[in-house]
Symmetry: C2
Subunit: 199 residues, 2 copies
């Protein structure tokens, strides 16, 4: 039995399909949208369609972009000799926020995951290799996630890129800053130990 009208039920179902939104949140959001002034609801609806219409992927690095080439790829001040390879556009944002990287990016579009049916051919390795063959790149930073899929992707990429004589590095694993040694899991602690550096 549905307790809502078809229109509201339809919105709730669609909201349920969004990442991190369960049935309870979807219901709460739908009722909130119903309580909004019509023009605010229309603005939200419009901004969803706008994103689909105006935002696309950078032709070079596949980061999100409103133009043919993204702001980072067209920024002349950035180092073109280092490319940081990430899984998703949100990883670009995370690294940009850290302010610790001034090179360029390459967004693979995911990680190798046989269980999800994602092999290397589904990722943007061909495009990465084409960029590298263009020359001028001396280092690739593998900034895929520190989980099984991300590690596999980093290792695969290292094998692919090394024959070109380009250095491949991997971002460090270890204890999060501000974290507590006592609460760290043993794998992270092991990685932190292995990756120890002289002070």
């Amino acid at each position: 039995m549905t307790y809502y009208s078809g229109t509201l039920e339809n919105l709730i179902e669609r909201l349920c399909g969004l990442p991190g939104i369960g049935p309870k949140s979807a219901q709460r959001i739908a009722l909130y949208l119903l309580s909004l002034p019509r023009d605010e609801a229309v603005e939200l609806a419009k901004s969803i369609v706008d994103v689909k219409d105006r935002v696309r992927f950078c032709a070079t690095c596949f980061n999100i972009s409103e133009g043919e080439v993204c702001g980072i790829c067209s920024d002349e001040r950035r180092d073109t000799s280092v490319i940081c390879v990430v899984e998703e556009p949100r990883d670009v944002i995370a690294i940009e926020r850290s302010g610790a990287f001034r090179g360029r990016y390459h967004v693979l579009g995911g990680a190798i995951s046989p269980i999800d049916g994602v092999g290397p051919d589904e990722l943007r390795f061909t495009e990465l290799m084409a960029r590298l063959r263009g020359g001028g790149v001396s280092e690739i930073v593998a900034a895929t996630n520190p989980n099984a899929e991300g590690e596999a992707t980093a290792l695969y990429m290292a094998q692919l890129v090394r024959p070109l004589g380009i250095k491949v590095t991997r971002i460090a694993s270890g204890l999060p800053v501000g974290g507590d040694l006592e609460y760290a899991d043993e794998i992270t602690l092991g990685r932190a130990m292995e990756g120890r550096q002289e002070l």
Copy 2:
């Protein structure tokens, strides 16, 4: 500094305004929407506007409705002599799901909360009194939330309704079914004790 294009930033900001959605979830949802086929994004946008255009409040009980009168108010099989008074339309759904009530509803649109500037005049008490003066109602169930605002609203309503000779009852407070006595807070436990019934 914004890391996203204006269009995407705009969508993220709007999503951030939704209940329960923080900046991280908003970013995740926006990027997910970007990855959807255009027609799916358009469908979501359309269903938001549809809800605003098609769904309104029932003229009798102020529950959400697609017609002039909601499905519950127009259901002839339901008991018209008992009205369950709730704060919000979502409370109607919650009670309907329990299957424990076969009367009709009245949605106040909130609870009395001086701290939020909500007094009795902001709630649908006038409309409730008009329904009751129409006759045929023998009991009002105060099903406002079991918190300070909900209790105050129930007490206010009891004072308002009693002069009409109509019985006002309050839903029971007590331990949640499946809960654990050990973990119950003392106020709930006190209420459970006060409300004990003979077996």
